[in-house]
């Protein structure tokens, strides 16, 4: 079965299926309800009015529904056109989705933040999140019977599961059925007042049309800001265009299309400066939040927040720090900005350089005795962005502190997955409390993480750290030059060094360079 899965859903076709989440079904001939009643009913018994066995007893994200339908195609031979699949994903994600509050804390999986270190209890981590993300589970809602079916499916499909580490030490199936099923049914229940409330409160998609001021940060590249224009189409679809610039003044431009699921799950496909990118945002209360990333390299992406014209918001100060006793140009990004910003005591606005509802560019000066620490910035009555005044950097952290890059290319089907790093500076306020300053430029290098990595010459083989904090891993495949022809895997320390007024500072993170991710579904 795995062979068939790989055959039918190779990296390319699955990526295409995911990309299609942002496309409406064209010239749809059947509605979602019709597809259920005509196609899915072949195996899923009709249970009264538009209810079908299994399907009607689950709720999940657009990605979750896409994975279920794709599995029906790959493992159970369902014949369904791409258009019908799009229609069905949209229908099910709308009718049986998750309330916004139900996705809180686990949106990273949809946003493809694959360096997230998950926090689940030990039993959940071992029983469920040993092979895939815990978020994949936490983004579903089912009653006990459906969780039970899921356990049976897992062991039936992957019989070696109960022989693996952290399974073979226990009676896996009795624990899965007897302990995990009740736990999941209570923690991730099908019935939840939040979902009932959301169905009543769900706004019309057309309300998203308009101009959105956005702020973002692209690791190893810097801050970005601009305006996203959203034009409403039929069936919760949108035309989207982006116009912005990086902090260094370079432009960022793109356009594409989007589809809104379940009143707030925004999925868009864009070409940005010639590169295919996806947006996975939550659109709520005049704000969009999430991540925009390259379709083919989802490790390359930016944190994104936007506010719609008419929704007053202060989203960010770029850059969000200033050294005491110095002067700098800052840009405040938001929506409906008016008036002079207030950076708090000891920080003076020298000059307003540019002012629009979306952007406020100012020259500011921090007094030599300005209090070090993080402070709220206000523009008129608007708050929401923080700003740091620092006297010296006390600590440098590598972000992400723990990450994974993957070998690739070299004639194989899978591209290299890079590591991308920022150096995050921290200071200390008068009370000795640590506060975040922000990302500062650093000199980047890698070293062997431990003795074994040194002995295996991981630094030599695993890849190359560029000056900009981007780590490019080595080629895929066995390497005859390495001991035992092993591949270009490695265990590395990522080192960021910076000088703060002549004081050298160093931060360290860990980077595992490993093999390709062969099975790469929309939810990791």
């Amino acid at each position: 079965m795995m062979t068939r899965l790989r055959y039918y859903l190779g990296a390319g076709s699955l990526a295409m299926a995911v990309a299609s989440l942002a496309q409406p079904a064209l010239a749809a001939e059947r509605t979602g309800a019709q597809i259920l009643g005509e196609t899915c009913v072949a195996c899923h018994a009709k249970e009264g009015d538009e209810q079908f066995s299994r399907i009607s007893h689950q709720r999940k994200t657009p990605e979750g529904w896409l994975m279920s339908i794709a599995r029906m195609q790959v493992m159970h031979g369902v014949k369904i056109s791409d258009d019908d699949r799009r229609t069905l994903v949209k229908y099910l994600a709308d009718q049986q989705g998750l309330a916004p509050s139900e996705t809180e804390g686990v949106r990273y999986a949809m946003e493809r933040r694959l360096n997230t270190v998950e926090q689940f209890d030990d039993q959940f981590a071992q029983m469920c999140a040993r092979c895939h993300s815990g978020a994949r589970v936490a983004l579903q809602r089912r009653p006990a019977k459906e969780w039970e079916h899921l356990v049976n499916f897992h062991l039936g499909q992957w019989p070696s599961l109960e022989y693996q580490a952290q399974s073979r030490d226990r009676d896996w199936l009795p624990i899965a059925l007897g302990e995990m099923v009740p736990k999941l049914a209570s923690q991730y229940a099908l019935d939840n007042p939040a979902w009932a409330d959301w169905q009543k409160a769900k706004p019309e998609a057309a309300a998203l049309a308009g101009q959105w001021s956005f702020s973002g940060h692209l690791p190893a590249r810097g801050d970005v800001r601009g305006v996203m224009s959203v034009e409403s189409g039929e069936g919760d679809a949108f035309k989207v265009s982006l116009k912005g610039q990086y902090a260094d003044g370079k432009p960022l431009e793109g356009s594409g299309s989007a589809l809104l699921y379940n009143g707030y799950e925004w999925r868009a496909n864009l070409k940005v400066d010639g590169v295919a990118m996806r947006q996975v945002f939550s659109a709520l209360n005049g704000e969009m939040r999430g991540r925009m990333f390259e379709t083919e390299h989802d490790e390359r992406g930016l944190d994104f927040v936007a506010a719609r014209a008419g929704t007053p918001r202060l989203l960010a100060v770029q850059p969000g720090y200033l050294k005491a006793g110095s002067e700098a140009e800052l840009t405040l990004v938001g929506s409906e900005l008016s008036g002079t910003p207030d950076f708090g005591p000891g920080v003076e606005v020298v000059k307003v350089l540019e002012q629009s509802p979306e952007r406020l560019r100012v020259k500011v000066r921090a007094a030599a005795n300005a209090a070090a620490g993080s402070r709220a910035v206000a523009v008129g009555a608007l708050k929401g962005a923080n700003f740091a005044v620092y006297r010296s950097v006390s600590e440098v952290k590598v972000v992400p502190a723990f990450s994974v890059a993957r070998v690739g290319d070299n004639g194989g089907s899978t591209p290299k997955m890079q590591g991308r790093f920022d150096a995050e500076a921290w200071g200390q306020d008068a009370a000795g409390k640590a506060f975040r300053i922000g990302y500062l430029p650093a000199r980047w290098s890698v070293e062997a993480f431990d003795e074994r990595a040194a002995e295996d010459e991981d630094v030599k083989y695993a890849g190359r750290m560029q000056a900009d904090g981007v780590f490019v891993p080595g080629d895929a495949g066995p390497n005859p030059a390495r001991k035992m022809s092993t591949n270009n895997a490695g265990n590395l320390k990522v080192i960021a060094q910076l000088d703060d007024g002549g004081k050298p500072l160093k931060g360290e993170g860990q980077l595992i360079v490993t093999v390709q991710r062969w099975n790469n579904p929309p939810l990791p």
Binding site: C43, G156, A165
Partner: protein
């Protein structure tokens, strides 16, 4: 399963480079010669090789039906028939090594709506008349799966190419490798090692593994996918465990040990024995046929231990990982197989390399090699 994925990948790569086996289907090749010592090894795409251990050369290659995986073999007591768990862990085959003919075939699933896989479990009765395997069945309902209790399925080896179980018995989950004792009892490795009466299906614990009671020891970790038939006639598998300093059971201060479980198939005597500090992983280990106090282990190195002293005697570097270890009867040569498509031969005393035997075809992956005298 991680092992399977890794080896499968290696297989895909290797088979691209190495192309098809040298011997086409239908060729029978020469019969085996009485008194000669041979090794059998299976590999992708679906070969069964016979290696002559006097010359350390491939003697013949049989092409097996259906699909490869895991290629776990057992040699019948007739030393003429090789039995193989294959076809994606779903079918048992008997291959006549003289003619390369398939003489036995059984599908583990018992209904079209059932899927059943055996995780390396394949064993023969001492008289060779019966073959055993534990099927892990799942019922495929129209819109859901139901995992069923594992069944020990007993077949007559002369039941032909569409064999049906003579008897079947419900057994515990997580059963892997198994072998029959001289008295006909079946020893099955699972949470513990069970001894089962193949007539009644009744079983009890022959050797406690997960449930062992060894003061200051953690429960052992055991994953042993290699169902090796040894000249010592022992059914054995490796474990690792933590040995705590005191009742606080602090993993940070514990010693970690390698050991082996063994059932003497002649007498049924069980053994639990530490043999080394845990310093590296061995996928397989085997005691020397000539010195039962010597344990050899292999994965990224070939290592030799004095069991009583729990001391490393010697270790040899390898040019790539090997999963499965074997000896010739004299105990003078060590054969490393599994992983890719070559067998590495080492001198058992000096651990000096003696050569390599390239097998036509792709990876052996997680297959078990067996050595026997015809």
């Amino acid at each position: 399963m991680k092992l399977h994925t890794i080896s499968g990948l290696a297989a895909a790569i290797a088979s691209l480079a190495l192309g098809l086996p040298a011997h086409a289907a239908g060729e029978s090749g020469p019969a085996l010669k009485a008194g000669h010592e041979y090794m059998i090894a299976t590999n992708y795409p679906n070969n069964l090789h016979v290696v002559d251990l006097a010359s350390d050369k491939v003697y013949k290659t049989c092409v097996m039906p259906d699909a490869y995986g895991p290629g776990t073999t057992q040699i019948g007591p007739d030393r003429k028939t090789a039995y193989v768990l294959n076809n994606h862990y779903g079918d048992l085959y008997g291959i006549d090594l003289d003619s390369c003919q398939t003489v036995f075939h059984a599908r583990l699933a018992q209904r079209p709506t059932e899927k059943a896989k055996a995780l390396f479990s394949i064993a023969l009765s001492p008289d060779g008349k019966e073959i055993y395997s534990v099927a892990n069945p799942t019922e495929l309902k129209l819109d859901h799966y139901v995992v069923k209790a594992p069944r020990l399925q007993v077949y007559a080896t002369d039941a032909g190419l569409d064999a049906k179980p003579l008897r079947s018995f419900e057994v515990p989950r997580q059963i892997s490798i198994m072998q029959a004792g001289d008295d006909g009892s079946l020893y099955m490795a699972g949470a513990d090692i069970y001894k089962l009466d193949v007539q009644t299906g009744k079983y009890d614990v022959a050797l406690a593994s997960r449930n062992w009671q060894r003061p200051l020891y953690s429960p052992p970790d055991v994953l042993y996918a290699w169902n090796q038939q040894t000249y010592r006639r022992d059914f054995s598998l490796l474990y690792t465990a933590a040995k705590f300093k005191d009742g606080k059971q602090d993993p940070a201060t514990a010693d970690y040990v390698y050991g082996y479980f063994s059932i003497d198939l002649k007498t049924g005597k069980p053994t639990v024995q530490d043999f080394a500090p845990l310093t590296e992983i061995y996928f397989t280990g085997m005691r020397s046929p000539k010195d039962p106090n010597q344990m050899f282990g292999v994965l990224n190195r070939l290592a030799k231990y004095d069991i009583k002293e729990q001391k490393l005697l010697k270790a040899a570097k390898l040019d790539h990982s090997y999963y499965c270890i074997a000896f010739n009867k004299a105990g003078s040569k060590v054969y490393l197989g599994g992983t890719y498509n070559d067998l590495a031969v080492f001198d058992a005393d000096s651990l000096e390399p003696l050569g390599k035997i390239e097998l036509p075809g792709g990876d052996m992956a997680i297959a078990t090699t067996q050595v026997f005298t015809r």
